[in-house]
Symmetry: C2
Subunit: 301 residues, 2 copies
């Protein structure tokens, strides 16, 4: 069984300029859950105004109350204020984020790499003060693990060191973000050779962007290393707003198709997934970049 963390509702929508209605986001997440996705990153509790598309985080999360018993709906938490707001809504699964590149965290979060780790430590401390450290699952994102759009190649040892720190802080899993989609399998092997020296494969996830069409090849390289958890976005929506030229998360359709065809189980129904993508594609007003979604659509015609 492969674990898929669907990031479409958060990472996919956050850069879309067309405002998506709250009820559409809620409907989208319901359709994704119906397709069999068990982990769906729902939204981000950022400062109101920071990402206009996600300013309805509270309302979106509250619209999932009928689903939360049957899946995990993590939300992105940038700081302790975000944590407080999320906990108030009943959030019990959060994602924290940093990057190997100092330039990237500065541009992305207005914090040095060390300050971004400090924010994560503050979030964990706050949870402990509230006595909730065992009730809230924390997932850690590390971005720019291979290349940074500003700094270029990153030392795999930095990803390994940060992943260890995040696990020590209590993260149950570290998602390794290949943020700008430049990596090929050789890069992923170099990264994993370093990270797996200190961290078991079961604690890692691959988050690979498909900007240059290499994401699936990187998934297969990771499978060879024992990685069984991957992030993707329905229809391939989203990417990273702070990485010039970056476009497109790995599409969940492409990931699911490839894994199932390879004899692995994802629990996801491709036809139902395509319905979720079709729904949000219309709301966003931009066609999906997923090859499998396009092939499914062509077949139906």
């Amino acid at each position: 069984m492969i674990r898929i963390c669907e990031v479409g509702p958060r990472d996919g929508l956050q850069n879309e300029k067309t405002p998506i209605e709250t009820k559409q986001k809620i409907e989208f997440i319901h359709k994704l859950a119906k397709a069999g996705l068990k982990t769906i990153e729902a939204t981000s509790f950022v400062r109101p105004g920071a990402i206009p598309q996600l300013s309805d985080a509270k309302e979106v999360y509250e619209g999932l109350s009928d689903l939360t018993g049957s899946g995990e709906f993590p939300v992105l938490i940038p700081n302790t204020r975000g944590l407080e707001n999320a906990l108030e809504c009943g959030v019990r699964s959060i994602a924290v984020f940093t990057a190997t590149s100092n330039s990237f965290t500065l541009k992305n979060t207005n914090a040095t790499r060390e300050e971004s780790m400090e924010r994560i430590r503050a979030i964990v401390s706050a949870l402990r003060s509230l006595g909730m450290q065992n009730e809230v699952r924390i997932r850690g994102y590390i971005s720019t693990v291979v290349d940074c759009p500003y700094e270029g190649p990153q030392d795999p040892a930095m990803a390994a060191e940060m992943a260890s720190q995040l696990l020590d802080l209590g993260c149950f899993e570290i998602s390794l973000g290949e943020t700008i989609g430049t990596a090929v399998p050789a890069d992923i092997r170099r990264l994993l050779d370093s990270v797996l020296a200190s961290i078991p494969a079961e604690r890692l996830a691959g988050h690979y962007h498909d900007t240059r069409g290499t994401a699936l090849a990187n998934v297969f390289a990771s499978l060879d290393y024992g990685i069984r958890s991957f992030d993707s976005s329905a229809g391939g929506m989203g990417g990273c707003p702070y990485a010039p030229g970056a476009a497109g998360n790995l599409a969940t359709e492409d990931l699911v198709y490839s894994l199932e065809r390879s004899g692995m189980t994802t629990g996801v129904d491709l036809e139902l997934l395509a319905e979720a993508t079709s729904y949000i594609e219309q709301a966003v007003g931009r066609p999906s970049t997923s090859r499998v979604y396009q092939a499914l659509k062509a077949k139906r015609k």
Copy 2:
């Protein structure tokens, strides 16, 4: 060094409904050659009217006379009549084609699989009668090596058997066509386990369609097996007109990027290649599906 057979001018253009002018095709091929591509499938000597887009085969080939000393410009040959016409134009590199699937050859060429092999034998015999068997290079295509759109899964043993026959007939290389783009690395490994039992890797090429985004992963799987020759199409244009839902050859840009980034040499300049794609994209009036081409364009903006 990886050998790339660029199939854009033939496979890429043959299904385009917008008529492309002969001089545009010639210019396109010149731009591809300038980008460093050494093998460019130029056109197909089919019966006039069979593929309207390629009815100017003679004129296109004659427009390449300044290039033929510095590269190989194979043309597709369906039968002895096509061979005669091609030889008259000075063609010295041809490609012949068949498929593992009987239903596919019937729909595609109005011949059974055995009849399609018979046509190839007739082409080779005609070359021998003319005493030109040592002057003309013959490449063999086998389509539907993994799945057929009409028959479904194909037995790898059939591809192996047909590849052996084609080599015995004098083909210098067999291109294994994953025609409908359903394959994942496990399929390619199963195929190569069978074919490589009787044929050395140096005599094989991978021709993988990117319909479901898996072509690059299949290239990497093939590299592990020692395959060093791949077919692709500038901008990802083309596919197969007889395969429902099929869209998109592997883009040469995506292939070149991935190989070069992996430390291999292709001899292709990506920027110049993108110029060729940009040129033909405008002529065709349909945007390229190549991820790398799109990323290069986004970067320039």
